[in-house]
Amino acid sequence: MQADRKTRRRRRLKLGNAVNATLVLALGFTTMVGLISPADSTVGLTADIFLQLAGVLAAVAVLVGVSNLLFVHLGRLPRVRKGGFYSLVVILSAAAVTAVHVLDRTDAWGGDLEGEKVGPRLFGVIQVTLESALAGLVFFFLVYAAYRLMRHRVTWANLVFLAAVLIVLVGWLPLKDWEGAGDVRDWLMEIPVTAGSRGLLIGIGLGTVTVGVRVLLGRERAYREP
């Protein structure tokens, strides 16, 4: 009886995988053909609808993700010693932004702020300032990591890497007596670096095609049931 149930369960799981793989193949193939067909053809219009549906679905997925983030932090609130305070900061920040946006939308600001949009100002202060400061902080870690690279182990690849870094940095400096450094930097960026990045990008493109074909053929585990 139990073995029979297990067999039925296994069959059902396999059927689920087959349905998923068929759907992925149909959707992917239609989208692909639609994108390379004329926009006013039937398959082109179908692909356009698919893309709109995917965009809306992605927006819903973002909402699901944000809800999940907030629920996780709500669950951590009672555990003050394990970061509950930081979770409170996350929730209060999200609540404040949402509240300001609602007040903006309903034109609820009174006095001198009547008709003003506070949300974009808040965005400029918090979001832009914090992101800029964090991006500026990266500078110190990049320089320190380059220094650590040579302390760790000296190989020919490390030397080439550091030489490229130094050439680009020195070439960037506006030194009057070192104009040749700028020329070397320009040549490096225009010829060897272009060749390398072209090879890397073609490799990424070919890798994308390989993975895409594997997904369409149902060989990837991304949507398969265990």
């Binding site: 959707l27 909402l63 914090l130 500026g136 870094v165 130094l166």
Partner: protein, 223 residues
């Protein structure tokens, strides 16, 4: 409260948040973590607001809640479909109903794969391969040769096909090893140059942040 007061509070908040972030240079500390968690909370809220206002509401107004009398029932139903599929994603949290949530994922993966395949072939591989084949058109012979050899060797560097010796050790032919060696050199040069560009970019941002905050402080001091 006036707009000027609001800007003043915003300026002080910006200064404090910047100092909190830069305090990480001393050590990982309480202030830095608060700043990062503020960023997480506000970013999540802004993303959610953008998703609702820029995507979901216009979509629902154009389909489900359309005032146009000619909007057919099938278009209204189509309007609900992505919301339904998105709601199914919530079921992935439950082990029992996780399979149902796969439908939304399948939809995204199918369409995303189609777009990625077309984008990779038409937008990346073909134009870059065409550029590589035209390496000698706009450059001197030496530069053209470096461009072509660099591109090909970089591609060879990322292939891992090899023969297996009788003792099981994988081995490549000498010419493949040579090409891979040259390819590694080009990859290393490229990554080094990109790393230096990242340093310069972050340095520009850092100086811009410092300049903005110093200007605010000087404004407050009347300088």
């Amino acid at each position: 409260m006036t707009v000027e007061n609001l800007d003043l509070i915003a300026g002080w908040a910006g200064l404090v948040l910047t100092l909190m972030v830069f305090s990480y240079l001393l050590a990982d500390n309480f202030l830095y973590r608060i700043a990062v968690h503020v960023l997480i909370g506000t970013a999540a809220a802004y993303i959610a607001i953008a998703a609702v206002e820029e995507v979901l509401l216009p979509w629902l107004r154009a389909t489900v809640f359309s005032d146009d009398a000619e909007t057919s029932a099938s278009i209204r139903a189509l309007g609900i479909l992505p919301i339904f599929l998105g709601a199914l994603l919530l079921l992935k949290a439950s082990p029992r109903f996780a399979r149902m949530g796969n439908f939304g994922t399948v939809f995204m993966i199918g369409i995303g794969t189609g777009v990625a395949l077309v984008g990779a072939v038409i937008g990346t591989v073909l134009p870059l391969a065409r550029d590589a084949s035209n390496s000698f058109d706009h450059e001197s012979v030496l530069n053209g040769a470096v461009l072509l050899v660099g591109t090909l060797c970089t591609l060879v560097y990322f292939q891992y096909l090899s023969r297996r010796r009788s003792d099981g050790e994988p081995v490549n032919r000498v010419h493949i090893r040579t090409l891979r060696f040259v390819g590694q050199g080009f990859v290393t040069l490229t990554l080094g140059a990109l790393y230096a560009s990242a340093i310069l970019t972050s340095l520009s941002i850092f100086s811009s942040v410092i300049q903005d905050q110093l200007r605010f402080i000087l404004d407050q001091l009347g300088g």
